[in-house]
Amino acid sequence: MTAVWGIEWRMALNDRRHFVLSALVPLAIAAAVATGVAAPRPAAALYVVVFLTFSILGAALPLRWDGERGIVRRVVRGGVPAGRYVILRAGAGATIDLVQLTPALLVVALAGGASPRAVVVALAALALSVWIGGLLGVLAAAVSRSLAETGLVAALAVLLFAHSAGAFEAADAGSLLAWIEALSPFRVLHEAMLDLTVGVTPNGLVAALLWAVLLPSLVWVLGDRIASSLGRVGRGGLAGV
């Protein structure tokens, strides 16, 4: 188990240039917005989109790439159950994302004069979000048929989930969007980012926790099918041959 986690971290650290860039780019965006004149709601929407892009797209594209060049097939053939592999990989990716995105979040908190409690809540929301986002990235890679398609599907997922979190529109009470927002895994992230600047109490933690538990269960159950769609694997593995 720890072998998958360990190699993901080791590979990330081996490519130091990419690791540092992945931290610097969101930091630069967050710093520019947080120290500029943007209103809190659009700014929070932008933070959510940036964080979801890094977690969903950042999980989907490398997984698709590794699937197409046969790494997923090799690892599954080599003895790691498919569901376990993609979940551990998403978990390791989430911790890497968290390390890379935390400086951006702290800059937002610093610029907004946020309370320590709000920072802790926002960090917890970010941790949950990159975990869920990574698993959504796994699904985006699995349902697409090429690297380019994965990019498009993941980008669409980013926008849809950001919208469902209320990032682009304040939902009227009782409306369909309000219901969707209540169930959104990223509402807590959006509201936690607002909390850093305007001090609203974040909602949506329960929904995020439910997603954080149920989504890996789904990925586990679908593990063989997911790996099969990423690259052909035989028995012990997959039925897609």
Binding site: A3, I7, R10, M11, N14, D15, R69, G70, I71, R73, R74, V75, R77, G78, G79, V80, R232, V233, G234, R235, G236, G237, V241
Partner: protein
């Protein structure tokens, strides 16, 4: 249909890597059959070599045995995927396979050894030993991205062998290996065989196979056309000497020039004769040709070897 084996100790043969195929066929998509009616039995501790030219179906059969593909027809029985102790029972090295490029060769091998069920020092000990034997010790800490194709091949062998699988499948294992590493690999596989490990190799390196394999199976056009021990295969076509003669000038009615025991196999260029009287027939055939007015440019004599047996069985050349 694939039947997974069991690690049940009441079925020790199945537990330790016996392969059984009956009427196995395979086709890629709607394409023509690349394997047809393959029957195969590989016993515990046996080393079997699949031999055939490019396109004979060796690699497809290996992929079926590795469960990378499922047969289109027939029955294929394979060992259990894991032993009762949780160890992966299969070790498979295809001719080419991806690695985790930014990690070192040793880290790659350790990752796959642990995934296969080895723990801690057991994994590192097995990996270090094999990397040393196969000439990779000096490259162990380098990223795989810096490896040449030969080193990548050797790393695949390390990864296939480190966990001591019950069934080892090596597709063209000698490619990219220098002589000392070939000898080391043969030694490793013979030791594994003595420890009841089953090995199937697909190879076109015929000269190495008599030293390695207990049995050789000839494959041609998707079928296993003949198989047996090396001595059995050699004797199956009878003792014969093949004489290839290139002529400047060719006399008429060649058959009539030779005494019984020398047969014309091909009237082309070169003229191919076969004799059951050994090398003594070479001088006799040349004398007969010269007496008939032929001018001989060159003479090549071949004793029956596996390539010759293959040629006789299939009518095709085995590029080696």
């Amino acid at each position: 249909m694939v039947v997974a084996g069991t690690s049940d100790p009441k079925e020790p043969g199945r537990a330790q890597g016996v392969v059984r195929a009956r009427g196995v066929g395979y086709r890629y998509g709607d394409g023509p059959a690349v394997l047809s009616e393959v029957d195969l039995d590989v016993g515990v501790g046996e080393i079997v070599a699949l031999v055939g030219p490019c396109g004979a179906g060796k690699s497809t059969l290996m992929r079926l045995l590795a469960s990378e593909l499922a047969p289109s027809s027939g029955l294929l029985e394979l060992p259990a995927r894991r032993s009762s102790a949780g160890r992966l029972m299969l070790g498979y090295a295809p001719p080419d396979d991806p690695h985790l490029e930014t990690l070192s060769g040793r880290d790659n091998a350790l990752f796959f050894a642990r995934a296969a069920g080895l723990r801690g020092t057991e994994a590192s000990g097995a990996v270090d030993e094999l990397m040393g034997l196969l000439g990779l010790a000096g490259d162990a800490q380098r990223p795989v991205a810096d490896y040449d194709s030969g080193a990548r091949r050797r790393l695949l062998l390390v990864e296939a062998l480190a966990h001591r699988p019950a069934l080892t499948l090596l597709d063209e294992p000698f490619l990219g290996l220098r002589q000392p590493e070939r000898e080391a690999l043969i030694h490793i596989l013979r030791v594994r065989s003595a420890q009841r490990g089953t090995v199937v190799v697909a190879s076109s390196k015929l000269p190495l196979l008599p030293e390695l394999a207990d049995r050789i199976l000839f494959m041609h056009e998707g079928r296993v056309v003949r198989g047996g021990r090396v001595a059995e295969l050699l004797s199956s076509v009878g003792p014969a000497t093949r004489i290839e003669i290139q002529l400047e000038r060719r006399p008429q009615h060649l058959e009539a020039r030779f005494r019984p025991g020398i047969t014309v196999i091909s009237h082309g260029d070169p003229l191919v004769l076969e004799s059951t009287r050994g090398q003594a027939a070479v001088g006799e055939a040349c004398s007969a040709l010269i007496a008939a007015g032929a001018v001989i440019r060159s003479v090549t004599v071949r004793e029956t070897d596996l390539a010759e047996v293959f040629r006789r069985v299939t009518g095709a050349e085995l590029a080696s």
